[in-house]
Assembly symmetry: C2
Homo-oligomer: 604 residues x 2
């Protein structure tokens, strides 16, 4: 059976030693009273919840799956999901980072992201229920009217009501401009009647919460075609009565689950067909600006999905490492390492270590990156200095597609790699590794496929502003290089970082020029480009982590915590073994669109 | 629902135009009468069988799985599996490449491998039942006594009896030296009594054949420890009575299925725990030489598993290409391509094409490679010239781990890539793509993990003979380069091929020297090394295919079959977009063992 231990030591290393996050956050009045002990306590307690409540029902949830009852149109979640959800709500976890005004704890996104990581390591299918609620909360907080906020937010913060995002229809996923769900004004009290069919709605129906707050994209009668004619509506499963904390559920609304999908993984999460038949809804935000409003939720969700990739990367690593230390099989090529045993543990083999270190370096690099982005989210919202806020917002915009795509590609690839460590046992359900692979696979697809993320990065986030945001990140990189420039111990990290930084600059220019002639050149380079920039970001954080580790090793000498020795070794592994992947992608990105576009469609 | 069309056009291209196989084979007396029409007819008829009989029960077989009944210890295969098996046997397909002396058709391995590819595209789980029978046949043909051959081979050739290979035990898979199953002589008629527990036995119990011929590794009472004390036994499910075609099944033997595994994929194939309780068996080959004998079956199985990777690569490509041409979503970045539709088919997007071309180039390259190896198997056995036989044997030895590991890595990665083309639908079971991914995953694991293959390649097949076999392949590469050297149209293929050839030579020397100092250096480089040599092989075959295509384009001008234009374009794609992966792996392979071995085991 698989196991999971919250990686608290590494989380604290990143939060305190790499990011110095508590001090950074205290510059914002909202977090002036934050202290390290509180942060640590949150990490520990939320980690305990994940390990004790969520992990034990992960495999059973996968085996059992959700059950749909066509007569009642109800979905039953797997055994234990509801009890865990009740415990989660009772402890106030849903409101960790929510406004105190609506019942939340008002803690930083940083801690919420760390909690997310552990939830996803422990049980991604379960964690997607409250995850969507957080997205719905954030959207309503920005775009809801005061009345909507006062009605819905306390319920979402407590978890009494949960949320969904209803975008996709059978004929349109990526291309929402084609969506057909219609909303017609009904009477004078601001109500609309919505009719249409949605598919692939995660957490779309379940038995965890008293009410489900669907956020639905639809077209008004006079809407222009395409994406400029999409509006956003809140369509609750039960029509609310009353207000705020005192609100209660009233009549059943005409929004139903028409069925659930049978899919590769995340079996414990209901992926629903949602049917609206004159369902009652209320406009959220301005007419025809629904897609913009939804992007609040989508951007948050994209970061969340990236962290799903991180979570699965981490838990796959933990289980593969445990197996590799325990399983005896064969002898070390360089002579027996456990001569008293019938064979050596397989961790003596260089390639087993390579597989483990690959997963570990991607997990630890991803953690530093994702936590830093979460910190930017906090600074963007609450820092008093407008330049800091602007910088944070730029980093969020630039990095969101990288977090989403790079961390989910890594998560899937590392889950596959860790599965390989177990040999035949990796393929057998009871060992749990194959579930990690199946669950991790969705993260590369939903919330915008990783191809879409790469187009967002290269087209909208880099080329559209002439590389200004990328340049802003480059300034951070240069700053680090300058700070480290005089220390020979840091050369092995800083030199390849600087080299890659220059290559990214040149490559960006080159692709930009080509794309001005032919937009397909951007499409042809984008996926490779994202992978290259992802490595630039990882190289930056691995250099920062190596610097911290080296400083501690220098300060503590032989008394140093082995954690720092391992960190330094993992940094070296990253630079020697993983970063060179960029040599491939730079060549591929420069190869251009020609060989891709040569064949006529019918020749495929 | 997924579909499958046998890739006959491409198969014939490789068999006739690239390999000129019929003429090459006719130099062997056994194949003196072979003609192209017969070969084509076999391809067509066997392809029809796969498409019509096997493909329709692939998804239902996955959903239904095998059922184990604990009371009777019987396994029920999914609906339709038995009928397809009966049709397969009735048509004589089991004996396609078997000796006519035992009822086979005596056709070349080449055609059998092509048939395998189509079987695996259509239904890997089903195809593993007869696949193991072929392995058992080949082993018994080489190592059985005359009496064993005359008893078992006709039954295996007809498919009336099926085969298994019983190697793995719970505590040993890779390291068979630790196996514990015991065989004790029983009486004077050459019988043994076998006792032990085997796991992960594919096709270990089922309802397809009248009898199951288990080939079991076990230890004799006086056996030395380790791999030098392993013997091979034939342990039939039912004890045979009579002989040859007239043999029939007698008493039930004490070899039973103790349960089947729940696993990620190949649900239609029973992966069995096999319990031997004083089961009756007969020694095959010499005492304590069982592992050598089993290697006949394992080498054949490794080639077969590589072709499983190819088969899934191909069928995943076909379904993703069909979806990409059909699904309309979004507009081409370079302007609408289907202005009369609401959106363009997604095949207009460069990255969708890149994903498809990746799968296609790996499938077509893998097909050329695998078919060439199958041809070497025929030449090794039947060519009159001893040097040709020696060269073929060397190529078989050198290339077996590459076929196994490179084609199965490609198969899984391409299945994943093709799944991505379908977006959300790729994750939904009914579209079939996720099954291809789950099924393809096992191929990287069984018959020796891909790490084991890489150690076999670098250690045993390259370094142990000082690169002689690799040099023999290098001579083929140089010959091609010299032949093409004067043709400027071939430069784009031949130049990178020559460049990679030189790099492989240098890298091999470098790793060899380092490994003499420290054997872990071989283990640290092996997986990257296999991937690099795999690309050298693919670059060689893609250059050969490009040459044939260019010649046809030159000869036929505007009347040329578009097949050749597509082939040339795919060759260009391979060289521009896939081959550059070697830049990464060369750097990684050269990085050495240091960063892998730095951490103590307890630091993982």
């Amino acid at each position: 059976m698989p196991s999971y231990t919250p990686p608290l030591r590494d989380q604290k290393f990143i939060v305190h030693e790499v990011l110095d996050a508590v001090n950074v956050l205290r510059a914002a009045p909202r977090y002036a009273d934050l202290d390290a002990d509180t942060a640590n306590q949150i990490l520990e307690e939320s980690g305990r919840f994940c390990a004790e409540q969520l992990q034990p029902i992960n495999r059973s949830g996968d085996q059992e799956g959700c059950r749909y009852d066509a007569a009642s149109k109800a979905v039953q979640t797997p055994k234990g999901f509801r009890a865990a959800y009740e415990a989660f709500c009772a402890a106030g976890w849903q409101g960790l980072a929510a406004e105190t005004e609506y019942g939340g704890q008002g803690l930083p996104h940083l801690l919420h992201i760390a909690f997310y990581e552990m939830q996803y390591s422990a049980n991604q299918a379960w964690a997607m229920y409250p995850g969507l609620t957080t997205g719905a909360y954030e959207l309503m907080l920005v775009h809801g009217t005061q009345a909507q906020k006062s009605l819905y937010l306390p319920k979402l913060v407590s978890g009494q009501w949960s949320g969904t995002m209803c975008l996709t229809e059978a004929h349109c996923g990526t291309d929402l401009g084609m969506l057909r769900t219609r909303a017609a004004p009904a009477g004078t009290d601001g109500r609309y009647r919505l009719t249409g069919n949605k598919i692939f709605i995660s957490s779309g129906e379940h038995d965890l919460a008293e009410n489900i707050v669907h956020l639905v994209l639809a077209r008004l009668p006079d809407a222009p075609p395409g994406t400029k004619g999409i509006s956003l509506f809140v369509v609750p499963k039960f029509l609310p009565e009353g207000d705020g904390a005192a609100a209660r559920v009233g009549a059943r609304n005409a929004i139903h689950c028409g069925g659930i999908e049978h899919k590769m993984g995340i079996h414990g999460n209901a992926t629903c067909q949602i049917v609206l038949e004159d369902a009652t809804g209320w406009l959220v935000g301005e007419p025809n600006k629904g897609l913009n409003a939804m992007f609040v939720m989508m951007n948050g969700a994209r970061l969340g999905v990236g962290v799903q990739g991180l979570g699965l990367n981490e838990v796959a690593y933990q289980n593969a490492a445990a197996y590799a230390k325990d399983r005896i099989q064969g002898r070390s090529l360089s002579g027996p390492k456990a001569p008293t045993l019938a064979a050596d543990p397989i961790i003596v083999h260089p390639d087993v270590r390579k597989m483990l270190l690959t997963a570990r370096a991607y997990a630890e690099g991803g953690r530093a990156f994702a936590y830093w982005i979460a910190l930017q989210a906090d600074l963007q919202e609450h820092h008093p200095d407008p330049e800091t806020r602007k910088f944070a917002a730029d980093m969020m915009a630039l990095m969101t597609p990288i977090v989403k795509a790079f961390l989910t590609d890594n998560g899937y690839n590392c889950a596959t790699t860790c599965q390989q460590v177990l040999g035949g046992h990796g393929y057998i359900a009871e060992w749990g590794m194959e579930q990690f692979v199946r669950d991790a696979r969705i993260n590369m697809i939903y919330e915008g496929t990783n191809t879409i993320q790469s187009l967002d990065l290269l087209g909208r986030k880099v080329l559209q502003d002439n590389g200004a945001r990328l340049h802003a990140f480059g300034a951070l990189v240069r700053e680090l290089i300058e700070e480290c420039g005089t220390d020979p111990a840091l050369n092995e990290f800083v030199t390849p970082l600087a080299d890659l930084g220059e290559k990214v600059q040149k490559l960006t220019m080159e692709i930009g020029l080509k794309a001005m002639q032919n937009a397909d050149e951007a499409g042809a380079a984008a996926v490779d480009y994202l992978r290259i920039v992802g490595h630039l970001v990882f190289a930056y954080f691995w250099a920062r982590m190596a610097r911290v580790a080296l400083a501690r090793i220098a300060a503590d000498g032989t008394q140093v915590d082995p954690f720092y020795v391992a960190k330094l070794a993992t940094a070296r592994f990253y630079f020697q073994r993983l970063l060179p992947e960029t040599a491939f992608h730079i060549r591929a990105a420069r190869a251009g669109a020609g060989s891709l576009m040569a064949l006529a469609a019918e020749q495929f």
